[in-house]
Symmetry: C2
Subunit: 512 residues, 2 copies
Amino acid sequence: EEVNKLLSLKSLLGLDTKPAKAKGESNKSKENKKQPGDEGPKKFVLKTPKGTRDFAPEQMAIREQVFNKIVACFKRHGAETIDTPVFELKETLTGKYGEDSKLIYDLADQGGELLSLRYDLTVPFARYLAMNKVTNIKRYHIAKVYRRDNPAMNRGRFREFYQCDFDIAGQYDAMLPDTECIKIVVEILSSLDIGDFVVKVNHRKLLDGIFAACGVPDHKFRPICSAVDKLDKTPWEDVRKEMVDEKGLDPNTADKIWEYVQQSGGMDLVERLLKNEILTCEKSAVEGLEDIRLLLSYCEAYGVTNRVSFDLSLARGLDYYTGVIYEAILTGTETAVAAAADEEGSVGVGSVAGGGRYDGLVGMFDSKGRKVPCVGISIGIERLFSIMEAKALASEEKVRTTETEVYVIAAQKGMVEERLKLCKALWDADIKTEQSYKKNTKMLTEFQYCEQNGIPLAIIIGQSEIEAGIVKMKIMASREEREVKRDNMIEEIKKALAPGNSEDTTASICSS
Amino acid sequence: EEVNKLLSLKSLLGLDTKPAKAKGESNKSKENKKQPGDEGPKKFVLKTPKGTRDFAPEQMAIREQVFNKIVACFKRHGAETIDTPVFELKETLTGKYGEDSKLIYDLADQGGELLSLRYDLTVPFARYLAMNKVTNIKRYHIAKVYRRDNPAMNRGRFREFYQCDFDIAGQYDAMLPDTECIKIVVEILSSLDIGDFVVKVNHRKLLDGIFAACGVPDHKFRPICSAVDKLDKTPWEDVRKEMVDEKGLDPNTADKIWEYVQQSGGMDLVERLLKNEILTCEKSAVEGLEDIRLLLSYCEAYGVTNRVSFDLSLARGLDYYTGVIYEAILTGTETAVAAAADEEGSVGVGSVAGGGRYDGLVGMFDSKGRKVPCVGISIGIERLFSIMEAKALASEEKVRTTETEVYVIAAQKGMVEERLKLCKALWDADIKTEQSYKKNTKMLTEFQYCEQNGIPLAIIIGQSEIEAGIVKMKIMASREEREVKRDNMIEEIKKALAPGNSEDTTASICSS
């Protein structure tokens, strides 16, 4: 049982490409290591599609905890939520993702419209705004997206995965929505207790200004920007080679860019760059720097300055960003355990959130090109799951997959209907209750079930209890057993489950 | 604004095939009535795929309420949850749905595996059990499924819709899991306050026994069963015609079946049928009746007898049922409002949950055919949404789409950073707080925003308040305004928001 639990958690971590084992599985860990496809003579392949996985109850319990914290933060900031279909008209996604478009899943043409699975939540959001003529909204959207990427499931890269987006759409004053996105990332990452992190910020206009000041021709801004984007995982020498050899940039220009993009800091760096006479000839650079200056001053008011780094090397992949861009990176030692899962490469190992301002996207869906300015962040929730799962594994604490509070047990045979009546009374009083689906049960087995599943209370009835109008209540943690009047039963159970009492109980039961 | 709200709710109801309007949309209700495709000269079609829809914040708020109640019930019964991918290998779905297989969405062949979108949650669940060798689990799964059906969106029929499944897998004693499914349906439908309902039950073995007793040849059991299934929406004359003319049944046999399937009742009917000498010659009929007898006695213990009707005409469409089958039907006058949305036809108008026992499905996925007995129910959540939305419309109560508790307002210009500091303090104390994204705001506009959005408290600061170390707190419902020391602010806000206080506040604000 415990071996399966460990295997299951190991697989959660992505240390194993097999799907998570769930309870009831036999103990043959070695044999189960076989890759899908090795399964020998069988009429059919029993697997999930490439790059996808099932989630077992243990994983769902952790996922729910993480979602709850994230949603709580979004709601704390007054966000609404929307939902969109899992597929869109193919043409809705066309021309939004550049060369990544080849990763879009298409549906078969079965007559009717040509459809594709959504690739992210941002393009459907922009389509929603344009279609419903919404000009301002603060919304979150948590849903799965689909990419026919080369899955690296042991590195937390899947073809089906959750995105967790928060966006503010509307014509507002500079940097007020932009800074709130940073505050939200800081609140979420802090609440998850995953160690130190930093939110890198930069500005697309500043990057454009730097490129102009260094002498990059206008039409090479995007390709050069996408080369800069690789600096977090590729040494400068290689990026320079790409710029010069592949993208035909003058080597001097490349070296000038390098002088800029090595820099990071805070307000001091903004002020220094604002005194740079070459850079300040570029209107775009000045606009970007002034935005960053305002953003950093708002960060100060929000008390998040220590979490923010103005980093000139941050470029972000997507074409549609037009202003501030962000990326949150884990830097703490607590992530060591997660990094282990990443042993094959450190590609974007610490990145757990990213986003930016995209003022042009909604206009692409409007027949008159009317723009709706937007800024948003996307939380890399699969990564956070992996880390939380790794922590759960490391702590060796048992993850409860149910919330059952009371287990109903009969002391004798032939009492199944009495048990049902008792369960009914408890359910109707909103007490989370289970019982065996066997007519006759053994007390010892029943108590073991309670212990294994962290159920804090057992209620036991026998013929004599029924005649006396009582039940026996056993507190599993202390093994204390006492008689309670049936009329007071609900009250007594609620008292025993009340915080102070039940939390100790749960804690002592759950550490196994 | 209110017109849009009504239009939006009307569309929620499915009275309109256009997607819901969201806030910010212009007031041109007439023009917006155009069908998609009529939109005149445009570079592209701005719509969601056929049979799908977006959910606006108002709809999501109602959806969340319904989900919360359903999940609370599942958790009260000790269920775990799992998740499976939105698509499966095509062959996993093959041969499970009979002639409905034509409704399965396939993915395009882009190299690699052939995939299909899931058609229900039951087959992926059975695949999960077999693949992970899980032999017992009580799980719920709430997720979207996909059917290329002829959408009747105005009757609540979509191509993408939620299913909300609860299943108990495992080798257990007769009727204990089966009856709990009924108890769960009763709890959920009662908690949603949607009027009267009845859970019809029947048994596949009893139906088979009846068919045998009436002289239906073995190979015609399934076709005749599927004809009986139509009795809830088709008159007997037509069903008889199908049996006799299309399916070649002897007219006498058909008439004998009619004598049976007209009957419904409770334990009295079970006892009566158990005395029927023709029927009790069929082993299968006796087994079915004995199961139903036990089920009804357990229903009595669960106190749900008044909600259960043993109905011989219930047959259920799916092939894979092997034992008890259920269907919950709304019968109350409260559903009149929902029935309005169904004006085009009363096809399955009241059906809001269905399910049954399927002991053979998991074995279809096991290379050795090992069986895992299962029983489960599926809540027809889209139908329930429609009804809850109709109720929201009828009550004319405003649906809050955020949970914002406090709105921060500056009394003067140039105080944006002071506002940010105040918001930070509130967020960090877990108070749901919003503010304007404008640097300078007008008090009146701000108060209107609070009223329109049902925000119960406003906190106002100006230079003099900051100097005095206070804030002004305005209770929006009573318009009472008082000064609070900044040091006590959090405490005072929490006091003002505490139940007794805030609920009155919210109620009086929300009724508009």
